[in-house]
Amino acid sequence: MIATRRITAAVALLTAAFVLVAAAGQDEQPQEQTNPIREFLDRHEIEYHGFYEARVGARLLDDPYQSKDLTIGEGRYQFDLFSMRDWGDVKVKGDVYGDFVTEEAEFDLREANVFMRPTDSMDLKFGRQVLTWGTGDLIFINDVFPKDWVSFFIGRDTEYLKAPSDAVKVSLFSDTVNLDVVYTPEFDSDRYITGERLSFWHPRLMRRAGEDDELDISRRREFFEEDETAIRLYRNISSYELALYGYWGYWKSPAGFNPALTRAIFPELYVYGASIRGTLGKGIANAEAGYYDSVDDRSGDDPLVNNSEMRYLVGYTQEIARDFTAGVQYYVEQMLDYGDYEGSLFPGSKSRDEFRHLTSLRLTKLLMNQNLMLSLFTYYSPTDEDAYLRPMVNYKASDRLMYEVGANLFFGDERHTFFNQFHYDTNVYAGVRYSF
């Protein structure tokens, strides 16, 4: 009953939004006079854009741990307001969507920030913002900003892989080196897999689990106490981009377990790393490494907290034919103090390998005046013997209308490995988006 009312509310809200959007979208007509909202925004020099989108996807396999076959079902309206003032820029971007999987109407504030350029050598951005750095393609080492793995696995637009941070970013520039400092006063975790909507390997139950066994999480919500600081020092030498990174915060997805609370936790984590990117032959090469210092288990003998790790990545991208690009990456995750980890494991636990090797291959082909894109991103791990394929077809029918179909396919031999734990979440999806 409540659920039905929620759906009705969501549909009503989205319908209203769509009418608004459609009206606002027809800017071939002189609609400024007839649309009071746009008239108001124009008068105050506020740019208004966004899109309306419908997206539906379903599981390909019977999942014993989920009651719904639907992995994604949503009508979404995004508004994007931007205004340049004398003293700085203001940006507010948010999504309103009706989610037919959780049966809720949702509001996701994607960005709400102020940007200022107070001096020639300083930029400031504070508020809710999306943050990205590092050189990997869908593999992250020194980019320790929050990711939304749920959105990634169910086929939302790639934009949603990055979850926003509530942070202050200070950028300092000089002729020799540039510095970014990002301070997040309250820890922003990933939007990780909990068992709701997507099934996963439950580390404590030691089996796959879903909506009936959602992960209990002990969150970190102490403002200014449980905070995060990330820095990047970078410069270009010729056409090579060099960077050093540091991060002082917490594992972004649950990486430990507190037996007293019987909850998964976000143990403390420091990361130190470096990267380089530049041209090599006909393509672009990148290399990146990071040391993950798991502060709460430095000796490696606590079975309830992740060990420290070294992470390494090399990548290469090249256009191999006209409008056809290929990118390959090789990534290694090395668990440190492996002997201590093995010695501390509970009997019967699934042990991780000391080295996890992961390769990725991206193929992108553009056709029909670049309006049709065929894309395949593949992760394959020779050590986990599992794979994750992301095929996608995207067609821009006009400057406003875009269609997309794709799939998220998880394969593997063992139930607990990084990608194959999501085997039952294997899904296909389709979407249509009207942008304005």
């Binding site: 854009h49 990205t132 990055k162 056409s239 990117r277 672009i284 991208t317």
Partner: protein, 269 residues
């Protein structure tokens, strides 16, 4: 010194110097002088320049798509390397994307290219590609935009009319391009390329033209403000219009990561 010629240079590029005295000379200059002059005139005018560009792409069925972007250009060296900053405004799905090109004039060094995607706050490095690939889905090719080296072709002055020098350009490595040769009509007074005609490899027929349809004098520089490319094989055409053209505006050092993530205001208006 090595030069490139480009449509963007010729049209957008905000740089059409009048090497007037040479043009007014009664005697016909040799072909190398003409193409150098046209190249330099088209590409390296002033120290910098900007324009608001609108592209209208029309396919065989008459469906149209539009692109709007602001482009800022600054020469690193006159006649040498150049930087381009392209800020997209339309269509909505590419709005606020920034495309940065550091063009290297040397034939042995590829351009450096970056694309900034604001929704992800992602700076993507783009691999150098086949330069005879469509630019943003239009009938203009990347090479029309970022430049075709004069050294890639042999040049021959085939005709001198009252108005034009007609130069035939034949590729030294025909296997790398889709045309047998192309003719350029260069205005004798301004050295502005007014028309380019591409001829097919097998049939020898004309299959592609680029025309400078409207030329205005802006701040003393003749400037192409409307250019049209027609592809006779696909039936498609693309019109490029240039507005708010301005030269020698004192563009600073904006061709770096800081300004990809947040463009200078003159690029966003």
């Amino acid at each position: 010194m090595f030069h490139k010629i480009s449509i963007l240079g010729l049209t957008v590029s905000l740089g059409l110097p009048l090497m007037g005295s040479a043009a007014r000379a009664a005697e016909t200059p040799d072909v190398q002088t003409i193409v150098n002059q046209a190249n330099r005139a088209a590409y390296y005018q002033g120290d910098d320049g900007k324009a608001a560009v609108k592209m209208i792409i029309t396919d065989k069925q008459g469906n149209t798509r539009e692109r709007e972007f602001n482009i800022l250009r600054k020469d690193v060296q006159d006649g040498g390397d150049q930087n381009y900053f392209v800020y997209f405004q339309r269509p909505a799905d590419v709005r606020r994307m920034v495309y940065l090109v550091r063009k290297h004039a040397g034939v042995d060094k590829d351009d450096d290219r970056w694309l900034y995607m604001p929704a992800l706050d992602l700076i993507k490095r783009i691999a150098a590609g086949d330069k005879r690939t469509s630019f943003v889905g239009s009938d203009f090719l990347y090479e029309d935009v970022s430049g075709r080296s004069l050294e890639l072709d042999t040049h021959e002055l085939v005709e001198t009319t009252d108005q034009y020098y007609v130069v035939k350009n034949t590729p030294k490595k025909p296997e790398l391009v889709e045309f047998a040769y192309y003719n350029v009509h260069i205005d004798r007074k301004t050295f502005m390329p007014m028309k380019m005609e591409y001829f097919d490899k097998s049939s020898g027929k004309l299959f592609r033209t680029i025309e400078s349809q409207k030329v205005e004098e802006i701040e003393g520089f003749p400037t192409v403000t409307r250019s049209v490319v027609t592809d006779l094989r696909t039936g498609g055409k693309t019109e490029m219009q240039f507005n708010d053209v301005d030269y020698n505006i004192g563009i600073g050092d904006i061709f770096e990561e800081r300004y990809l993530r947040r463009p200078p205001r003159e690029a966003m208006r």
